[in-house]
């Protein structure tokens, strides 16, 4: 049932008209924290996302356990202590491109966009608004954005002992390479 609800969540804007939906199952989300004490970088290359170019709707979901860290201990702490990924296995974003009319999806090129929506991490949801780019290429669409989040806004409690090792703001990078959603 859960899988059906994931599919439903991702495909609520799919299959409506015709070739307006673009999808990826290997989108990238990374986050980065820099402090004088330590750099922390987590990468997720298995983000599932759908973009509807007729409405500008953009949704994606990521499994927390798919975030990769170079250090195994860091990955363990991330899952077990900070994100409690057994309890909150997924993170999701549901939003839209607010200046859709400034993008010409029929012409290859890079377009500046504003994306606004709800970002859910653990069981906390916050509004996010960020600048980004939409790159129209032959056979696909690439979306890029970079924005900051505050861990405490998402109930990510960082113990005082290690607080200085993690930046107050985490830099989040999103890179999606969409291909047309093919109906089977």
């Amino acid at each position: 049932m859960k899988r059906l609800s994931v599919l439903f969540f991702l495909l609520t804007i799919a299959f409506a008209v015709n070739a307006q939906k673009y999808m990826t199952k290997n989108g990238y989300i990374g986050f980065f924290s820099h402090t004088p004490m330590e750099d922390i970088k987590g990468d997720n290359n298995q983000v599932a996302g759908i973009l509807d170019i007729s409405t500008g709707d953009m949704v994606f979901q990521a499994l927390i356990k798919s975030f990769h860290f170079d250090r195994a201990l860091m990955e363990e702490h991330f899952n077990e202590n900070y994100m409690e990924s057994d309890k909150f296995p997924k993170s999701s974003f549901k939003g839209k491109i607010t200046n859709l009319s400034s993008v010409n999806f029929s012409k290859n090129g890079t377009y500046d966009v504003i994306v606004e929506g709800d970002l859910t991490i653990r069981d906390a949801t916050n509004k996010v608004s960020t600048k980004g780019t939409i790159e129209v290429v032959t056979g696909g669409i690439n979306a890029n954005a970079k924005f900051n989040i505050v861990p405490e806004d998402y109930k990510i409690n960082i113990p005082g002992v290690v607080r200085e090792k993690i930046n107050k703001n985490l830099e989040v990078t999103v890179t999606m390479k969409y291909a047309p959603l093919e109906k089977k």
Partner: protein
């Protein structure tokens, strides 16, 4: 007395050093070398995908956080991020495959759609696909 104190001091310093060394080793612990790690389960991509499709809750309990050795046919090979390759495997489903990320592959061109592959990785769970992380291809399985 003095000898007793010297021996006690020696042991205290030794234990402190051993503790520091153990902490450093833990801190710098790398991900397991999949080629040398015994898998918890050996499955085909089709069987794995079907298990999640039939009963996600049971399959999640069985496979998540476990090392899986998976065999299957490559559906696609996509580069992503820094030196990361994502290989998806053919399953019995049109909608859902087994999606595997390889943090470092020396020669990604040797993997082509249609090839058979045997790999080991850690199961992260189900999104649209069954996701495996920290994967490595098994050439000479141990």
């Amino acid at each position: 007395m003095k000898t007793y104190i010297k021996i006690s001091l020696f042991f205290v310093v030794f234990i402190a050093l051993a503790g520091i060394l153990a902490a450093l080793m833990m801190y710098n612990k790398k991900h397991p070398d999949m080629a040398k790690t015994k898998p918890d389960f050996i499955v085909t991509a089709s069987v794995l995908q079907k298990a999640f499709e039939d009963d996600e809750s049971a399959a999640s309990k069985k496979y998540i956080n476990k090392i899986l050795e998976v065999t299957g046919k490559i559906a696609s090979v996509k580069p992503s991020g820094n030196n990361v390759i994502c290989i998806s495997l053919v399953t019995g489903s049109d909608l859902s495959s087994v999606n595997c990320t390889f943090p470092a592959i020396s020669d990604p061109s040797k993997f082509k759609p249609g090839d058979e592959i045997k790999l080991r990785g850690e199961c992260s769970g189900l999104l649209m696909d069954v996701l495996l992380n920290n994967c490595a291809a098994i050439v000479n399985p141990k």
